[in-house]
């Protein structure tokens, strides 16, 4: 019985840190708009004579993430391709002709607009053979994410249309969620970059974000684990977590995890003696091979740190994270340990048993004395 009591004093306590990180992808979204002034077109403007020049002002507006833009201009006379610059006037000096496209060499920022050209013209020296023919001018623009893309030369990529033509990055005002909850003064043990992965929103393929996790064990020999769970809210794109990669490495180069976030399972990240520290680098990345099908996805994950140690004399009170989160409506899972309650009951039962034994012994002794 005494053995049991002394064992219950060397209880294992837990410390928890719960942290939520938002992960989202952005999208490339451009529109081409005709800024031709109506009053600049004469009544018969669509009937061109040699030397005529009529207003046609296509502009490209960027509603999505910063991107590179190129435009293709086609001029056809009765279906036969013609030299673009013979019939198109005022081509923006910011555009550079490479192959079949006119490339805008600078990054086009959010809500920025670029000009393509200003007029359609019929040269004054055009031959009589063009009389009565139909002149067709077509222009469209293509865009690719600016980050992680080399815009030099002719883009050798497949350009696909965005899946959401209503998306506007300026309307995407949902606040970024990245919070850290320290329990039982655990900030003494685990120090993340704060805010943690705040830039993991509006990702594009090829993005990579690194943050630091510093574990400082200042008191007791402890084992620290990290679990990652998807936050079970509506509107989550869990398939995004299959593609977002997580790599955790220690400063000594030891790899703790390298795989998709969805496949991550609870694992030990440090086992430290008192006074030891361990530095981890967590890297979240979106693979470069992902295409538009992964644009505009959103998901949140919970980083759940758990520490176990022995020998602490005055265990701190664990605060239920739901109590904190209930104020802002968030619900986070409770990952606290129930060992304390179990040992408390055992301690009380042992004490009752001890006192009962003493009482019975005393009673026996009293009867023998009588």
């Amino acid at each position: 019985m005494c053995m049991i009591i002394s064992g219950s004093l060397a209880i294992a306590d837990t410390i928890n840190t719960i942290q939520t990180t938002s992960i989202s992808t952005t999208a490339v979204h451009i529109e081409i708009e005709d800024f031709t002034q109506d009053d600049s077109i004469e009544q018969n403007a669509l009937l061109l004579m040699p030397g005529d020049s009529v207003s046609f002002v296509p502009k490209v507006v960027n509603y999505g993430t910063p991107c590179y833009i190129r435009a293709k201009i086609d001029v056809k006379m009765d279906g036969k391709s013609e030299d673009v610059e013979t019939f198109i006037g005022g081509i923006s000096s910011s555009l550079e002709k490479r192959g079949d496209y006119y490339y805008y060499n600078n990054i086009v920022g959010e809500n920025e607009t670029i000009d393509i050209f200003e007029t359609v013209k019929l040269p004054s020296n055009i031959e009589n053979t063009y009389q009565g023919k139909e002149l067709l001018v077509e222009v469209h623009a293509e865009a690719v994410q600016a980050r992680n893309f080399d815009p030099g030369g002719q883009w050798n990529i497949e350009i696909e249309e965005t899946l959401d033509r209503h998306y506007s990055i300026s309307d995407d005002t949902e606040p970024v969620e990245s919070k850290v909850i320290y329990q039982n003064e655990t900030e003494k043990y685990i120090k993340n970059s704060n805010p943690f992965f705040l830039e993991s929103v509006n990702l594009v393929p090829g993005d990579e974000i690194q943050e630091e996790i510093l574990i400082e064990n200042i008191q007791y020999p402890s084992k620290f684990t990290l679990d990652i769970q998807s936050k079970n809210n509506d509107g989550q794109d869990i398939d995004l977590l299959e593609k977002v990669m997580l790599k955790i490495t220690a400063s000594d180069g030891t790899q703790i995890y390298n795989g998709s976030i969805k496949d991550y399972t609870l694992r030990e990240i440090a086992n430290l003696n008192s006074g030891e520290t361990k530095e981890l680098i967590a890297t979240i990345s979106l693979p470069a091979e992902l295409g538009n099908e992964y644009a505009l996805k959103k998901a949140s994950i919970l980083w759940i740190y758990n520490g176990e140690y022995e020998g602490k004399e005055n265990p701190d009170v664990i605060i239920d994270p739901d109590e904190k989160d209930s104020q802002n409506g968030n619900k986070t899972p409770i990952t606290g340990d129930i060992k304390l309650d179990f040992y408390l009951v055992l301690f009380i039962l042992s004490t009752i048993g001890l006192f009962s034994t003493i009482a019975i012994n005393n009673k026996k002794e009293n009867l023998e004395e009588r």
């Binding site: 992808t25 952005t26 999208a27 490339v28 979204h29 451009i30 529109e31 081409i32 005709d34 669509l46 009937l47 061109l48 004579m49 040699p50 030397g51 005529d52 009529v54 046609f56 296509p58 490209v60 999505g64 993430t65 991107c67 006379m77 359609v120 019929l122 004054s124 055009i126 009389q131 009565g132 023919k133 139909e134 002149l135 067709l136 001018v137 077509e138 222009v139 469209h140 623009a141 293509e142 865009a143 690719v144 994410q145 992680n148 893309f149 990529i157 497949e158 350009i159 696909e160 249309e161 965005t162 594009v204 393929p205 090829g206 470069a288 091979e289 992902l290 295409g291 538009n292 644009a295």
Partner: protein
């Protein structure tokens, strides 16, 4: 040795295929992209088209004409195109020796008022004398500016020609000849009406 060589070749091919596969996998990358709709505008190149006719001309009347005869001949230019046009007409008149004067024009143009000369609304641009003929160029214009002939409208340069009437047959030499009439038209767009008719006519390369 042969077997070794074959085996090495197979290994080499396998390594090459593997390398290709690795390069292919490693080289795959996609990006977030977008492509706009196509803006398009269609224009029609205007056409300048004219037709030259002589409604009063009867070819048979021109056979065996006598000095002083007048023949109905009314070169008329109709704008059959879609756009307004400036119109020019070139007339070549045969020449001969009349009453001892060489290179005399054998026909005189007569207007709708039975007066010598072309109809009102035409101005002479040039006169060029060559062997056997004199060539005139006329523009449909006022004294100050060119007059557009609108689509569907017509303009008649003159209405008759009068054969010369010599007084001294001994010093007159008449030969067969023809009066050649050619019409020209050019767009009015981008050509100010006040441009000198000779300058505009130069566009025809005459």
């Amino acid at each position: 040795m042969k077997t070794n060589s074959k085996s090495n070749r197979k290994k080499l091919i396998a390594v090459a295929l593997l390398l290709c596969l690795v390069l292919l996998i490693g080289g795959i990358s996609a990006y977030f992209t977008d492509k706009t709709e196509t803006l398009s505008n269609t224009y029609t190149v205007g056409n300048i088209e004219i037709e030259l006719t002589e409604p009063s001309w009867v070819a048979a009347n021109a056979q065996g004409i006598m000095p002083g005869d007048e023949l109905p001949k009314d070169p008329t230019v109709e704008n059959t195109g879609s756009s307004d046009a400036y119109v020019f007409v070139k007339v070549s008149i045969p020449t001969g020796t009349v009453d001892g004067t060489a290179d005399t024009e054998l026909f005189t143009l007569v207007n709708s008022n039975d007066q010598d000369g072309v109809n009102a609304g035409w101005v002479q641009v040039s006169r060029t004398a060559e062997t056997g003929k004199v060539t005139y160029v006329y523009a449909y214009a006022s004294a100050t500016e060119l007059t557009p002939v609108e689509s569907g409208d017509t303009a008649t340069l003159f209405n008759k020609v009068r054969f010369v009437n010599p007084t001294d047959a001994a010093t007159t030499t008449l030969t067969n000849g023809s009066i050649d009439v050619t019409a020209y038209a050019i767009q009015t767009n981008n050509i100010p009406a006040t441009t000198a008719p000779a300058t505009v006519f130069a566009n025809f390369g005459e």
